[in-house]
Symmetry: C2
Subunit: 256 residues, 2 copies
DNA sequence: CGCCACCTGTTACAGCTTGTTACACGGTGT
DNA sequence: ACACCGTGTAACAAGCTGTAACAGGTGGCG
């Protein structure tokens, strides 16, 4: 089950890619809106004009939005406040656009969670570069899990290759771990030398918060049986009495 | 980096938080470096001065780096090129710092993957706001998977609550899915109305690329047996002959 | 120092999960 | 019409997984 939880999001990058980013252009000035929308269309984006927060929300409700270009002065509405409200609910990248470029205003924009801030009048090509940078960054974030799947973890002479899902002993011999054993190992590898409580381990393995009984202890024992030279005196996967368990090894991570 | 990695396990926010961001200040000018490093120290960051790419790499090799402030003019080295190289290998946020602020240079910076671009001379408070914004954004990205874990998916009258790991039928009755069944459901929910090949499904479920035989088919059959009114004539989880399977329902996602 | 409660390791077991295999049926192409 | 391919399904075996019970060790308190 945990495995599936990991891989689901890693698999997104490998299954389908949406090719046309969908942008909202939010400005109460119709002419500015149209000009920018057309420009972005020509650059290969789906650009949708909005004049108010309500229109923005309507678009968000209707489908995926990849980025919002949000003017600071929106008639009766403040773009900065809209940005703050949207950020509290959404991860969608937001670029604030303003004719005013005083530093304290820029800071306010960043503080409410804008991804970038562009001063009018702007060079369209620079705007484009920023749009692309912000989109690329968002794409990179979305693929983080996928990339992590290609990592090789080294600890205490052992190797865990996340992409191949293979665990190798110091002598190079592969051992077979069950799905739960692998999940436990991954949690430990992600937290070298940090004692983890049983609840923390269970949660990290995808638990729903229910009390686990002694399941983690048994699982630890099983993993020890496979990776410890002497499971009765573990050196890699140690117990911290009253706390939980700790991977007592440094972990080195390489791209797979 | 390690922290960001184990967010894939859905447990980052619940296991450990690293509280002091670690920044690299990269500038060949010692005075600038020192001034900035001290300023950032006073603002609560761990700021480490570097003068060359080699020093940057040494720091990256020694431990987690949360953000790199990278000057464009680095004596014999070009900050933009260093940025490009680092970006190809790393997700670490990079802010380029330059005395030159022509638009084409800024665009070059964004194109090589910089997260932000600051012109010298800069207002230290504005730099700080940007550092914080970039760090906050990185943190948000790192917590994406965790947030997804709190999501509720609705499809065809059914509900999957990711946090509780509960699946409910249209009549509100909970059904029990096995771990693999849940994993399959998640893959489908992440790709509504998109036909997925068996290989794609297996990969998204954490497969290591090995041929799966008929396992996915059997699993689909089992999930159908639990969620279809008539498993012999499935309406939710349909077969696309010669391709694979598709979730024939719209999916609505709510924060949990 | 001794006692006791708690913590952890371990074993055995039962139930469930999971993938493989084999067969049947329907669809498609020649 | 026939052959082949793709998919659904049932049966089965092996493995996985957590629970329960017991034993030994540890730490705190009197």
């Amino acid at each position: 089950m945990l495995r599936a939880q990991h891989s689901q999001y890693g698999g997104e990058g490998r299954i389908r890619d949406v090719t046309i980013p969908r942008l909202l252009v939010v400005d109460d000035d119709i002419e500015t809106r149209s000009m920018l929308t057309e420009y972005l269309h020509r650059q290969g984006f789906a650009a949708l004009p909005c004049g108010t927060e309500a229109e923005v929300r309507a678009q968000l409700g209707q489908g995926r939005v990849d980025l919002i270009l949000l003017d600071v002065m929106l008639g009766d509405e403040s773009g900065v406040e809209i940005c703050a409200r949207l950020r509290a609910e959404q991860d969608v990248p937001i670029i604030l656009v303003s004719a005013l470029s005083a530093d304290h205003q820029r800071m306010a924009g960043y503080e409410v969670g804008a991804d970038d801030y562009i001063a009018k009048p702007f060079n369209p090509d620079l705007l484009l570069a920023r749009v692309r940078a912000v989109l690329a960054r968002a794409r990179r974030s979305a693929s983080l899990i996928y990339r992590r799947q290609t990592s090789v973890f080294r600890f205490g002479g052992w190797t865990y290759d996340a992409r191949r899902d293979e665990v190798s002993a110091p002598d190079g011999v592969q051992i077979a771990l069950s799905r739960r054993e692998t999940a436990l190992l991954k949690v430990l590898l992600a937290n070298p030398r940090i004692p983890l409580t049983r609840d923390e381990i269970a949660a990290a393995m995808g638990g729903d918060g229910d009390e686990q009984g002694r399941a983690i202890d048994v699982l630890v024992g099983r993993l020890r049986g496979k990776i410890e030279a002497n499971p009765r005196e573990p050196s890699l996967l140690r117990t911290e009495r009253g706390v939980g368990y700790v991977l007592a090894a440094d972990v080195e991570i390489e791209a797979g």
